[in-house]
Point group: C2
Chain length 411, copies 2
Amino acid sequence: MIAEILAVGTELLMGQIANTNAQYISKRLNELGIGVYYHSVVGDNPGRLKNSLNLALSRADVIITTGGLGPTQDDLTKETIAEALGRKLVFHEETYQGIKAFFEKINKIMADSNGKQAYLPEGSIIVPNPNGTAPGCIIEKDNKIVVMLPGPPKEMIPMFEQTVCLYFESRTGQTINSRMLKVFGIGESEMELRILDIIEAQSNPTIAPYVGTGEVIIRVTAHEKDKERAEQLMEPVIRQIRERLGSFVYSDNGETMEEVVVGLLKKEGITLSVAESCTGGLVASTLISVPGVSEVFDRGFITYSNEAKIKELGVSEETIARFGAVSRETAEEMVSCLVKKTGTRAGIAVTGIAGPDGGTREKPVGLVCLAVSLDGEIVSHEVRIAGDRDRVRHVACLNALNLLRKKILGL
Amino acid sequence: MIAEILAVGTELLMGQIANTNAQYISKRLNELGIGVYYHSVVGDNPGRLKNSLNLALSRADVIITTGGLGPTQDDLTKETIAEALGRKLVFHEETYQGIKAFFEKINKIMADSNGKQAYLPEGSIIVPNPNGTAPGCIIEKDNKIVVMLPGPPKEMIPMFEQTVCLYFESRTGQTINSRMLKVFGIGESEMELRILDIIEAQSNPTIAPYVGTGEVIIRVTAHEKDKERAEQLMEPVIRQIRERLGSFVYSDNGETMEEVVVGLLKKEGITLSVAESCTGGLVASTLISVPGVSEVFDRGFITYSNEAKIKELGVSEETIARFGAVSRETAEEMVSCLVKKTGTRAGIAVTGIAGPDGGTREKPVGLVCLAVSLDGEIVSHEVRIAGDRDRVRHVACLNALNLLRKKILGL
């Protein structure tokens, strides 16, 4: 089966947003064994939409549209496609009640225009939308499949995962089976060197590395009839990759670094406090993005100025004067003062030069010193991070969390 | 002039990357007064590329391609398009020397395959690539313009800005002139109501509102021959919008809320400290993303637990017991204790329920209490924010910064 993704929305042609829906759907269709040959984007214009639909029908078996399902005059994907396929729009009571219930839930009054969203092409399979008012639908006609989904990713993605995937799985006899290994602390090229033979020897599962900010992600995807067989195929390959990459692999199920660290803290019952200079709250904020973190996260100090390091944490003036505010010695003293003060079992301290100014020959922009304390034992680490201020701070934060992860795991 | 953007690359169809190039180019072309009617994406397949090019030539005046200009066998955009347009590829000595010099600069050996990149369609305008080896080119034929650019954004964007923009400016006699008004604290629909007549009455400049996370952006774009005249057209419209929206407009030059706040603090010589509960360092971290913030940002406390609020800031147990940790009273006491402790002129305190758990009937998820202190005067504010944990924290942070902005400006 060959698919084409057709996005509808003038905001895409104005450059207000990127077509991330096409990326998401493409990735998932490829994993299902459905090849994607074209993406296209048109504005909220019925004539051009109709032409693009007909073109897509002439060259693909599956057409997935995103956008144009809203309640306003501009939203005309459903009307245009139904007409092009010769289907009437019919009122769907259950969908109408669902839209009504949605407005009640969010405590807003339902506008008359939302009623239009309860009309769907005759004979179509309805794709419920748990996070919005616009339902999607699947139309089968003359061996072609047209799937219409709304534009907002937070609505589109759950609908794709919960309904559209199952639909294609049942048609293709395959399930989406993929696992994401998250790798930190090793460059992409070195990582590839270490596992190139594994990548090249494999066809099922496939192994695809790609680069995130400061980390590498390896997606292992098995094409199999059921989840169990897929796991059986993936398991030895994942084990092999883990053996080659050792402690650089911090997750084999797609978890973020902060989820892994918060998970470890909760499992071991370890409380944590942080002291941050250049990251300025980013380490704390990243950890606090994980729900339920309050069990283990106690408090944090953003000691941006030297005075704050001295006054709030109790770092000695002498240490800063002798080694500098950005030094392993200062980071170590920050963390030891921190845990003494807060009484938490674990602590993280970060100090560095995020740029764009403030660098010197000996201590250039991107130099970051990190220290971690666990039950009185302190480890520290110095890294040089390339990139702009945001990247330095982001990668410094990942390094700090990774240092704590390794300390907890005894790596 | 009508444009179509044609991206070439199997990695886009595999979902490995999003087509951010199309977004970037669309935005710039719209600003130049060139409408974009279609985006399309094809893989590294000469047949499908040729078909897509011919289709684009049939429905657009300008076709901009991205991708497929590299040195490998897969990269065939230039060859395919040159053939379709009946142009020979000819060796270009200056480009060859440029590629050689590029490899010398980055201290790498030039592969034979890179030589192929010095061949360009006969009679084309060369678009130099200062950040890579693949030059781009512009072909004019039969009133159509085809522009080929490489795929990596860090190469494509400078080439577009330095060469392609000037080319279109000279053809259209227009320059890019737009200003972004940033609006916070008013819903999109209420804002539209207030300025709908201004939007509808205007054709030059055009006024386009769009929705960010928790804020609204209004782009005012003038199509004029030079910057000065464009400013003259935009100025009265921007003034009119500002009058209607008052203090909801926090920037009329595209600055972020944190840039505006740090700018005000620096201008007035006001030092700042922060105390955060539910935002957990996000307010500090957002401020610290602005270069040069160290002049004004002193320190921060992440007092996530009640104990931390009491011990680190000195909030009284009684206040928390009586009004709750999430209350205006606690937020006010947090900020008053904070500035007493740190001695900064300004302070921000945030406490709230970010979810997904922890809400009650009286204090639901999304309730956030904020307080700001400036030279001993305290103001506080209570907001209810819809959405998930990340959105609650992000919008809480914007609210906190906005409260400080308004206090400094006496609004």
